[in-house]
Subunit: 316 residues, 2 copies
């Protein structure tokens, strides 16, 4: 998700980068270079965007910028640990802490980054922000544990798949929206609408990400694809094809079969239909607050995801 989505929120993102850069000084001198590295190569800042869009309307209040920054720090902490667990040496074209400082320091640094996010959340006058951030973080990690345990389990149910991606991805999306609307001072109806949007967008985004791994050219994605099947991770298109044609399909796929050939047209269609349904549910969640500034920004995200999915869909 690229910068046209930031249009109209430039002041928010400028304040965010300033806030994030200032966090370096909260750490011990030995740890500061790691903080600098982690912040120097921004990703899509997708979660801050959700917070800003959910809290849009006028210039960004300080509390909103802090909230968006806290959510991003949690996300960065999970990436630091993911890179250790995947043994990844680069991300966004730069060396990972795992590569530069080794797994030992990287695990501890991820912990410190996450704890620092909670220190910042505790500066909010009420414990509500801590609750949102801590709960979302717990669910993200729990979802990743569940997914790790489910690898190679060919009888994973669709219900469990949805629960795992809700935890792993949608909870932090939801937390970002909730924190954004809360910190901008919106009433509870607005907070609820944005939260529900975030939950459905998160599920849609994860299904999209699963599809990218199977369908997109490596050159476009900027990362190694097709890794899910090889690692025993079961994603939605695979589960749908399994339910259509039986478990033998998963064995063939894992033996190195090409997913584009092996997954049938009805399974792909059902997968894209489910992705569309989540996008539609996200949009529907915003109906109670139609006319407020938040839907203006949030609906750009669903439009963007819908177009990206259309470009991905196999012809025919």
């Amino acid at each position: 998700m690229s910068s046209p989505l930031h249009t109209g929120l430039e002041a928010h993102f400028a304040a965010l980068e300033k806030f994030l850069a200032a966090q370096e000084l909260a750490f011990e001198p030995e740890v500061r270079p790691m903080v600098r590295d982690a912040l120097a190569h921004p990703g899509k800042r997708l979660r801050p965007l959700l917070a800003f869009a959910s809290g849009a309307g006028g210039p960004p209040p300080d509390a909103l910028v802090r909230g968006a920054g806290i959510i991003e720090l949690v996300h960065l902490a999970t990436l630091v640990h993911d890179d250790v667990l995947d043994g990844a040496d680069t991300r966004h074209g730069s060396d990972t802490p795992n590569h530069t400082h080794g797994a030992h320091a990287a695990v501890l640094f991820g912990d410190a980054l996450f704890a620092h996010a909670l220190v910042l959340a505790a500066d909010h006058p009420t414990p509500e922000l801590c609750r949102i951030v801590a709960r979302a973080s717990r669910e993200v990690c729990s979802g990743e544990v569940c997914q790790t345990f489910s690898r190679g389990h060919d009888d994973l149910s669709l219900e469990d798949y949805y629960r795992h991606i809700r935890l792993k991805t949608a909870e932090l999306f939801e937390g970002a929206c909730q924190a954004g609307a809360l910190l901008a001072g919106y009433p509870s109806e607005h907070i609820k609408s944005c939260s529900l949007f975030g939950r459905h967008l998160g599920i849609a985004y994860q299904i999209y990400d699963d599809l990218v791994d199977l369908l997109q050219d490596d050159t476009k994605a900027g990362k190694t694809l097709g890794t899910d099947a090889a690692s025993g991770k079961l994603t939605l298109p695979m589960l749908l094809e399994r339910d259509l044609s039986g478990k033998g399909f998963l064995t063939t796929l894992r033996a190195g079969g090409d997913a584009r050939q092996l997954i049938s047209a009805p399974a792909w269609r059902e997968c894209f239909r489910r992705l569309d349904a989540e996008i539609a549910a996200a949009e529907q969640a915003l109906e109670p607050i139609a006319g407020s500034p938040s839907p203006y920004f949030l609906l750009r995200l669903t439009a963007f995801l819908r177009e990206a999915a259309a470009r991905l869909a196999p012809k025919g």
Copy 2:
């Protein structure tokens, strides 16, 4: 530190175990066995003891039990990660999550356990408990990063050594005391006295732990000792001997020399003198609240540590 130290606080510890056991249900079904395992083999519950002693006086209020449990969960989360980083298969005679479930799931489980502690802290009516817990956690991890980076650096200053152990060990001791006194409703003078006690006891305890690694028989300690020197970790007796006799000593020690032979009597004496000074500073911190129930319980800890140190001191 064993159970005579718990005398008079039995109701507190009974409530604590009940509280900790109940946490399992806050996790996804797949994660619950890991929670059960992590809680099944209690260590010394030293940090809850600090919280209970700092908040002593009458039966334990619920908030105090929760606070002590939260601090213990943070400690358990750091142990889960430590065991991954050390590749440890057993702790307290039981299999570690790292051994049972692999490093991947264990890192994520440690994250989830830590996040859950913060979820619980956010249930407190004010953000103060989140602040104490998050800050102490950040410092513990920062201290471990610093110590990791300092391995093999023969010019580590005494100041940096003290800063590292304060972060790594004393911050969570201090947080436990602070949370305990706060949650029992004590006034700020009491909170401050207990916090300062925790800080000095934490430094003393870490120096003692460093001495155990060099001086105690393996059979008594129940873990592999003498590992600090081999891994390039510089502890206080080594730094003091280096300052007396020069860096060549560290090279000899690392090459497998016996610390008991290589470290001179004046260096040992200075190390025990510094340990005594921290114990005395801890005790002195309690003077403003002499006569309250907290010193009664806290001073048992310094007495216990002083006796343990005396048993360790080399003869002559």
